[in-house]
């Protein structure tokens, strides 16, 4: 198996998403608040994974522009959930780097009273895996 194929499989496994279910309606891109910031658009995440074009996907700006607001996950009529895909791609990168994005020790200095607690908790949960 090529590396990209492996990575694509991994993304599918982490996200639990079957990209073949996509019917290319574009509702994800229509819902995305970061659409204009992205080079690869949410609806394209799906075809990048389906076509195993992972290298480009993980090097895209979009990877870090997704706000994980999950509007696309919520509204996708086909249960494809592009937000979960990009989230999985992000995890792939984080795991590859062999490091945790956040360590518990780093948290105190990051604490900003303005910051919603939930954001920290979810970020922590996500990047600690």
């Amino acid at each position: 198996m090529s590396t990209e194929k492996k990575q694509a499989e991994l993304i599918k496994e982490i996200s639990g998403v079957n990209p073949l279910k996509c019917m290319k309606c574009g509702k994800c891109s229509a819902s995305c608040p970061s659409f204009n910031e992205m080079d690869i658009k949410p609806h394209q995440f799906v075809s990048y994974v389906a076509n195993e074009n992972i290298e480009e996907l993980v090097n895209s700006k979009s990877l870090w522009k997704c706000l994980s607001c999950f509007a696309c996950v919520e509204r996708c009529p086909r249960d494809v959930k592009p937000g979960k895909l990009i989230d999985a791609a992000r995890q792939l990168v984080v795991r590859q780097k062999g490091q945790n994005y956040l360590t518990p020790d780093e948290i105190p200095e990051l604490l900003d009273p303005e910051l919603p607690q939930q954001l920290l908790v979810s970020a922590f949960r996500r990047y600690r895996r």
Binding site: C25, G26, A30, C32, F35, K41, H43, R75, P77, D79
Partner: protein, 662 residues
């Protein structure tokens, strides 16, 4: 002990070239019960059949084994031949030594050995055969059509034209159904009422058609050819015989706050009402929930103004019991609730509407008298956005997994009509795919784009955000340009998915007609029997079977009518005698068999059973042989072996197994 005759066919050289037919016949004589065996060139020929008849007579045969081609080919031929010779046709078994033997094996020795074994299996089976008599049941020459929309009306008309009595049961106060709510119809743009109303009148005037409006099917019993149905005629509070349909009561009724069902709740109607002007029958009903007389006991205006004295506040629901030979289900559809689609702001803005609501707005008899205007402020919209596939093609549980089929076309119709009547209004359609497989359909859609300048955007809308100034901000994607679009609209029209009428579940249960996960009624065969339910005598017309447009609905309505007529034209039904039969003394009454029966043919009865000197009342299975199709699912489900299949009994099959493994 049976007296069995074995007849081995040469089939010219088809069999004889590879199977030693003489030896098969010789070997047959060594089998238990066999008293006669012979071979002949063509058993199915007249001479061959004469040979069989002669042997039956001379040797007093009680059973036949024909070693020949497939039973699918000539079983019927040989059964008839046996019957003519005075033998019960079900005492004949075929050993298939052509398709399953001579044609696939080359070695004569091997093929002959196999032919002998197949013959033995057939002989073993015939030894256990018993004469079977096909049952007979009478056909009531009257049909019931459930639902009085275009599907029901068309089916009723076609059946009635063939000379049979038809009753239509419609739960609303008038027939007409969804089609009566439509303004224009694609792809010809004729006015819906103009083509539907004459049919409604024709149905009402037809001497063979009897219409029960404001009525519902309450109970169904019986089976194909002989259904008994209870119909609940809901209290109308108006005497149908006296009412002249003058309409004064509706005008004078002081309670005018009831949302109009016909106008999808966009405006109100009086408590005494007919749903629309062309209603058939043109007799109002009193909506007791909104009627002041019923709520407070005071009022009675309608009664006072009615010259005919037709108002009857004491009317009660009435149950009518009728017998029918065939039942056609034509319960139609509704559009889905949009509660799960908050992103389109349907509940937040009056200017986000469904396509069916737009139909009413565009209709001259509708809430805005046909003027295209915003329901919030009555202003003329300048920018209209249509959103396709709202709730259709969804694999999550918010919507429906199927394509609603009609939306692409009616949206093109709406877009075109708006652009035609109001050229200054911009129309944008967000679509996933435009599906136009129908005669003149794609041409119609292209006309909307090319001739009327409707802006079609490939992409879906993510959300609709009502603005403080009353506008609607539509955020959608344009997949071909790879852009996200923000568009201010005055009106948003949602092509909401259609779903079978929610009542169909109840009706299907009463009819024991099967239903799929989407509540569409299942057809007996997806390709070959698309208008019949697997339950005999139940036929399907219109959208209750699956999404359809008007021409398809009418075509299916006609097809369902033909199937019903085909049934009603028979005086008696011959039933397949190879049906399940319970041994009542062994039956546990556990209902396992009934649970797997696809035809609802098994019922339970408390019956007095005499078994081993004990007389007691037991719950035992009963098979309605008119409904049973003989699949045998029940026989395996039954743990005690009480349920057996005639013609394919447990012992017969085991005898075949034993003969083959001998």
């Amino acid at each position: 002990m049976q007296r069995i005759g074995v007849f081995v066919c040469h089939c010219g050289s088809n069999i004889a070239a590879t199977v030693d037919v003489k030896r098969v016949a010789e070997m047959a004589l060594m089998e238990p019960g066999v008293v006669h065996a012979e071979d002949y060139q063509y058993m199915c020929s007249e001479a061959g059949q004469a040979l069989i008849a002669k042997a039956i007579e001379e040797k007093q045969l009680t059973g036949l084994v024909i070693c020949s081609c497939s039973p699918r080919m000539h079983e019927a031929t040989f059964r008839k031949a046996a019957e003519r010779a005075g033998l019960n046709p079900y005492m004949v078994e075929i050993a298939n030594i052509r398709e399953h033997c001579s044609w696939i094996h080359k070695d004569m020795e091997e093929a002959t050995k196999k032919a002998v074994i197949l013959m033995r299996a057939a002989v073993a089976k015939v030894n256990l055969n018993t004469p079977l008599q096909p049952g007979e049941s009478l056909v009531t020459k009257r049909a019931l059509v459930i639902g009085g929309g275009i599907a029901g009306i068309q089916t009723a008309l076609d059946i009635a034209d063939a000379g049979y009595e038809v009753d239509i049961v419609e739960k609303e106060p008038s027939i007409g159904g969804r089609m009566s709510q439509l303004d224009k119809t694609f792809p010809t743009l004729d006015c819906s009422a103009c083509i539907l109303t004459p049919k409604m009148v024709e149905a009402a005037a037809h001497e063979k058609i009897n219409i029960y409006t404001y009525s519902e099917v309450e109970k169904v019993s019986g089976f194909v050819g002989d259904f008994t149905v209870d119909i609940r005629k809901k209290a109308r509070s108006v005497d149908m015989d006296k009412c002249t349909g003058c309409g004064v009561c509706q005008e004078k009724c002081p309670s005018k706050k009831a949302p109009s069902e016909f106008n999808r709740g966009l405006n109100n109607r009086s408590a005494i009402y007919t749903p629309f002007a062309q209603a058939i029958p043109n007799v109002p009903v009193i909506d007791r929930e909104h009627c002041i007389k019923f709520k407070t006991g005071k009022c009675g205006v309608c009664s006072k103004v009615c010259q005919a004295g037709a108002i009857d506040y004491d009317q009660k629901d009435e149950i009518v019991t009728e017998k029918y030979g065939a039942i056609v289900v034509a319960t139609g559809f509704d559009i889905i609730k949009l509660d799960n689609y908050d992103e389109y702001a349907y509940s937040q803005s009056k200017d986000v509407i469904t396509s069916l609501e737009l139909e009413r707005i565009m209709n001259a008899a509708g809430p805005t008298s046909g003027h295209l205007e915003r329901l919030s402020d009555g202003k003329a919209p300048k920018e209209i956005v249509f959103i396709q596939c709202v709730g259709s093609r969804c694999s999550d549980d918010r919507g429906k997994s199927y394509c609603s089929k009609i939306c692409c076309m009616y949206t093109a119709k709406h877009a075109m009509l708006i652009r035609d009547k109001y050229p200054d209004v911009n129309v944008t359609v967000f679509y996933i795919d435009v599906r136009t497989p129908g005669k003149n359909f794609d041409e119609f859609y292209r006309r909307a784009v090319e001739q009327y300048g409707v802006n079609y955007i490939k992409g879906q809308v993510g959300k609709v955000i009502p603005q403080p100034d009353g506008k609607l901000l539509v955020q959608g994607s344009d997949l071909l340009d790879n852009k996200q679009i923000l568009k201010e609209a005055d009106m948003v029209v949602l092509a909401a998915a259609i779903e079978p009428n929610p009542d169909v579940r109840k009706i299907a249960t009463m009819l024991t007609a099967s239903i799929d996960t989407n509540n569409f009624l299942t057809e007996a065969h997806a390709k070959l029997r698309p208008v019949e339910s697997p339950t005999a005598g139940i036929f399907l017309s219109g959208v209750c079977q699956g999404p359809k447009d008007i021409p398809e609905t009418v075509a299916q309505a006609g097809a369902a009518a033909v199937k019903a007529i085909g049934l009603l034209a028979k005086d008696k039904l011959m039933t397949n005698p190879c049906t399940a039969k319970p041994d009542e003394t062994l039956c546990n009454g556990c209902s396992t068999c009934a649970n797997v029966c696809p035809y609802g043919a098994i019922t339970y009865e408390d019956k007095e059973i005499f078994d081993h000197g004990i007389r007691e009342t037991r719950r035992v299975a009963q098979v309605n042989s008119a409904l049973c199709q003989g699949c045998g699912a029940c026989t395996v489900a039954c743990p005690s072996g009480a349920m057996d299949l005639q013609g394919f009994s447990n012992r017969q099959i085991i005898a075949e197994v034993d003969a083959i493994c001998r």
